[in-house]
Symmetry: C2
């Protein structure tokens, strides 16, 4: 590889591309599920690709991980038991464990190699893996959710790849019905929901499938995420009942630092731009 | 060109790339200042490149143009005379002219060919060019601002390319001093200010130069913009005195449609994420 080359992800379903300037290739592993590659970039820290799709960079993953964790955790009145489906890079786990009231987090990613590569190349994301409250499973998240005791979970976080390949089964009614059953009455499901600019159809379909599984209320929160197609991403929260007012005073007075998330950012993200609101009805 | 190809902009100063899937090349002109190319994309409408850098697509330019115009116009108590420096694609001009109180808008872009290409390939952006309140000049924006009568302008909008090449002189104290002099006491300068993730140093430097020219108050508002490096962009507003509370009731009750801008989006953009606020002091 030349001293500096460019690595592009041409995203077929958005018709747009994202890329980074590469200094070196650091690692590659072919797991039973996917090809995982690690590059050193010139400006974005280390970069993980799965089957050619950008998963994260050392520089901008805080945006995604903070927004996958804190809006849901500050919306639930008292989150104690959290399940993360996917999330093998452990960045979301780290954010969830910042909440002192959380008593147990089960992370279930199908591919152990994602976590092994994260431990090696993104050690800062894995700094909470030894927390006694954390349990790391390497198993099928669909089966895990189907086997959860009913009403045993406060928050399910679906931190997966795109709805193709291993993650396809995490975007349909059957999976959402398992989440619904596992959640307590005031529980929250939160899932990464792709680009609110380019993939509104997908978000609409996700919310419809969640609705068929019994969820009654939805909130899609946009946030910037340079390493994903269009640079603008979202998470979607679903509840059995109730709304998305959050513990704003707790968010404002939180005892841990965040770089993107704040009570004001959370509040702002709850009101969608007109074109997104119109598309989501 | 093959039926579908990909066009990437490798941005040297962010170390990241943006790209679109191309269906056809539509046009190219070499002006006295720069090379302007037009492509048809598969998913993003028409695409304009200047010297290889993405300027706009038909699909996502509304984000930028609305945010370059409406926050400043709803912050000023009664904007009547507006000057746009750059802005040759006429999209910002169109948004400014939606405000019925505006009596005159002078747009001064150095390169007439940008406007001619916009008229041809982005006619929707040029639909207000014949408005009797609009005056299109093709001249040096630096000289234009230097020649403006003192205290004659309510809002100056600097809608330029990056601070290299023709636009370099639009990012320094001398130019800002001309803007300061031309603005009335309650006037507002607003300038596109690049990526709040990758280019915080540049925003800091811009604000310092504006300060040296006499401006006392600054607000940097982030917004998504898929076609620019990192997909996250910003505008920076500067005032001689006073703050950035805006005419929120007027914004809420506006008689024209917007797709991204709303009173709530404006309010949300005024509170920066912690890492941006910390970097800008």
């Amino acid at each position: 590889m030349p001293e500096t080359a460019w690595k592009h992800e041409n995203c077929e379903f958005t018709g747009s591309a994202i890329g980074f300037r590469i200094a070196a290739k650091l690692d590659e592993v072919l797991s039973p599920f996917q090809k995982i590659e690690i590059f050193e970039t010139t400006d974005w820290g280390n970069l993980m690709l799965i089957d050619g799709a950008v998963m994260l960079t050392g520089r901008d993953n805080f945006l995604y991980h903070e927004m996958m964790a804190h809006p849901a955790l500050f919306t639930h009145p008292d989150p104690r038991r959290v399940v993360i489906i996917g999330g093998g890079d452990c960045g979301t786990l780290r954010e969830v464990l910042r909440h002192p009231g959380v008593q147990q987090v089960v992370q279930c990613d199908i591919d152990e190699q994602v976590t092994r590569m994260a431990e090696k190349w993104f050690p800062e994301l894995c700094e909470s893996n030894a927390d006694p409250r954390a349990q790391l499973l390497f198993d099928d998240g669909i089966a895990y959710m189907a086997g959860c005791a009913p009403g045993s979970v406060d928050i399910v976080i679906v931190d997966s790849t795109d709805p193709v390949g291993p993650a396809e089964g995490l975007f349909n009614q059957a999976f959402y019905a398992s989440c619904f059953r596992a959640l307590r009455a005031d529980g929250i499901l939160v899932q990464q929901s792709e680009s609110p600019l380019a993939l509104l159809d997908l978000i609409r379909k996700m919310r419809a499938e969640m609705g068929k599984a019994g969820f009654a209320a939805f909130a899609t929160l946009p946030f910037p995420q340079p390493c994903y197609p269009t640079g603008w991403w979202s998470c979607t929260l679903a509840r059995k009942a109730g709304g998305f007012d959050f513990r704003e005073d707790d968010a404002r007075g939180k005892r841990f630092a965040t770089r993107y998330y704040s009570a004001e950012i959370h509040r702002g993200a709850l009101t969608l731009p007109p074109f997104v609101a119109a598309a989501l009805g």
